[in-house]
Symmetry: C3
């Protein structure tokens, strides 16, 4: 359902500059590809060049962002935060699929399952004993919910996500397909030439507003809980080992691994393919840069890089120094020769 430019501007609290207020907007697109009937955004001057040729009907742009050569067919939508306005516009024009109250006949619900109002349970979903599911939550086809699991309100569990027994999930949590929450932690004691399994009898507790990516694994605690704090966002293919305490609003990017019994402070960022050894504390707001391997604690607010990870500035200095190293080897060889020459001369002088 298209809406008029005027309606869109009002919905997003933007001021129209130029263009045609009654033009119809059908969808949103990037500035590099937006066509007639689409709205876009310009928030980075790197992309300013695209605006001249753009066929987009409208473009969200900051109040103070100066831009030349806006086509006559394009309205600028001036606002204080064009990124957030554009998110509103995208959500309006491309609404998420909604699910009503439904329990598929092919779903299996074990004994004593408590399902609130307006819950959707898809085909082949398996809901274990003593599970409770809060209102407006959506359990898509084939999701597996183990025994004694609690799921809050407005959650969305995608197909073939697996929630092992005893996991506790807050409200507004999204868990993508293939994510495995609550599998056994990786703990063994080596005795008599074999690895003896340490029972993994804890659980996983996920707070509100968490999103967990596809094929990510979060292991249950050996004893006690592995916890994920409110608002944390975890990308695909991330490994979170047992008994980690992940704070609030933490970001973990794809292919990152956190061993076990770590504390990840609020607002910390673990960039892609980074890794954290066990029993490490990452301070609040710290950034572990991509592909870094952290073996010791990282102070709050600092940024670390490399493997083993060091303070970013130190690591960068070392990287620069390494790039000069082949040259340095030659220099030192030359110095050795010169000193030898000087020593000889000095000897002759004596």
């Amino acid at each position: 359902m298209p809406i008029t430019l005027k309606e869109l501007a009002d919905f997003c609290d933007a001021q129209i500059e130029g263009g045609n207020p009654s033009a119809l907007i059908y969808s949103a697109a990037d500035i590099t590809s937006a066509q007639v009937g689409q709205v876009t955004q310009l928030t980075n001057s790197r992309y300013s060049g695209y605006i001249k040729e753009s066929k987009a009907c409208a473009c969200f742009i900051a109040n103070d962002f100066s831009v030349d050569a806006v086509p006559d067919t394009m309205a600028l939508l001036r606002c204080s935060d064009p990124e957030m306005a554009f998110i509103k516009a995208v959500s309006l024009l491309h609404p998420a699929k909604t699910y009503g109250q439904y329990i598929a006949p092919q779903a299996v619900l074990e004994a004593n399952v408590s399902v609130a109002n307006n819950v959707y349970i898809g085909a082949f979903a398996v809901i274990g004993e003593n599970v409770s599911i809060g209102e407006h939550s959506v359990i898509l086809a084939g999701a597996y919910i183990g025994n004694n699991v609690k799921i809050g309100k407005h959650c969305q569990i995608y197909p073939y996500a697996v929630i092992y027994d005893d996991v506790v999930i807050g409200d507004n949590v999204v868990i993508h397909s293939g994510a495995i929450i609550g599998a056994d932690g990786f703990g063994y004691k080596f005795r008599n030439h074999v690895h003896v399994k340490v029972p993994q009898v804890g659980n996983v507790v996920i707070a509100d507003n968490v999103e967990i990516g596809a094929n990510t694994c979060i292991d249950r605690g050996a004893l006690g809980s592995t916890t994920i704090g409110t608002g944390s966002k975890i990308d695909n293919l991330v490994q979170v080992g047992h008994n980690n305490k992940v704070g609030k609003n933490v970001i973990m990017c794809g292919l990152t691994g956190v061993s076990g019994s770590c504390t990840i402070g609020d607002y910390a960022i673990l960039a892609g393919s980074s890794g954290i050894a066990d029993h490490v504390t990452i301070g609040q707001g710290a950034v572990v840069m991509a592909r870094s391997g952290v073996a010791g604690d990282v102070a709050a607010g600092t940024q670390v890089f490399g493997s083993p990870a060091k303070d970013k500035r130190t690591a960068y200095k070392e990287q620069v120094a390494i790039s000069k190293l082949p040259e340095l080897l030659k220099k030192v060889k030359l110095l050795e020769e010169k000193i030898l020459a000087l020593e000889k001369q000095e000897k002759n002088d004596d």
Copy 2:
């Protein structure tokens, strides 16, 4: 069903040298383990030593490959390309399982699904609304196909692969179990101390002849498409983020991660556990070596290594230099002492 050596040679366009043309061949094996009734190949002189003791009935070998001490019981199968001839032989002797037209009674097909002739749909597969599936495609047990997905001809989707809504898949595409195609990209804006999700309303478009490994994730575009070009092959546990444009015949090995909005040129190779930062362009035919981390563009045809990745020759020189670094530290210490001595002497001389 065994076939005679003669039949195998004819099928693979090879010339028989020695052996018994009516010997029966049952299966194929590596040269290190092939037994009576088996055919093998020898394409690398490193393995020439195995031929003397081999019990294999036949061995594919290049026309000009010289080899001693071939057992009387072994026929050489001379041909111009023994690797390709051997692939033909393996395919003949170990035929892939075939699937006829079938829709399992336990499968769920939502409204308006278009299924071409000779399509197989296994038990517990879920096929969403408005899906079309081309002829001879095989949807194995438990595969999940979201709404509006298009699947071409002769595709094979393995159990518990998940295709989110709106994904477009070409012909002859293979998607292994646990692969998640079209989950949300990892995009957030940080406002008022929380991470606000950027709606991920694009899709994934996969061209013909692509193979996608087990548990690999390919995220949908935020807006627009994440694309995988014709003939590209992606290994297991690979992360392809949103809005990447992957070219034709690209190779991505296991545990590799590509952040987002990257362009990967045709014929590029991303070796195992490598990683690409966002908005990077990898040129045509470029090679990112194993475990390398790429933060900037890589020129076509070049090879890069390390993290941060550099031109392979530069990186190797630096590696050699690093191995000399502990020694260099000692040398410089010695030079310092010598210079101190020279300075003293010079002072005395004055």
Copy 3:
């Protein structure tokens, strides 16, 4: 069901020191969090400080471990191996869920499936043709078992684990959710500008007492088998490529990748996010440290670190040297100046 301290001590072969033998023990917990009614352990003097304030009723502790200030309410449970005694206690107090003989009506069993006594098969499990399942094995909901698969006794296959055709699994094997066993190896030959697939017609053979983590992938052999030896333990999100021969009691931690045709010796340890290039041999008991990338053979009993991986001591020396490198550059610059000065002076002297 709680038990008395006396019963617990007897069960675990420990001697009670202090406390109340008839106190009831309900569960186990870490020393940092144990409460009334719980048993804990103290095996690391780093945690000795916690005992003073602990409310735990009992604490396993080594016979010779000295500790002060034990609360009156806490019994020490003296034994020779408190870690193993604690494992026994945890297993007793938190018994694993047991499964009786059952085949869910929603499971699909193809032709010629052989199911031993006391096997459990959950809802939506798919069991292919000619499969055999040994007694007391548990196939949980939605697990997919391909054709011709053999599963031994006392195995546990978690939801949505996928076992491709022809895989052979020993006794007491645990396979977690999302693990994909036997998908095609990643093998292609490049001809006429395309990647031609090498048929992957081998299988995977898993010996007894192996545990395989969530979302881990173990590819089938191209020809012959990929093998995992007795007692080996593989963490989550690990990639084991085709034709690898993994020995006995090997440990592979999360996000590790082993390319293909490697030999991993008994008792080797591949730490987190490590990677092994193809055709490499890792010797018995060798340790590949976290995030290391191994391109060549590693001798038995050695430890390697880095990427490219080197002997640990060499790698550490180089790391120390690198940290001194920025300083070294300055030193050499100073030396150059001093030598220039000396050379000038020498010239003047002449």
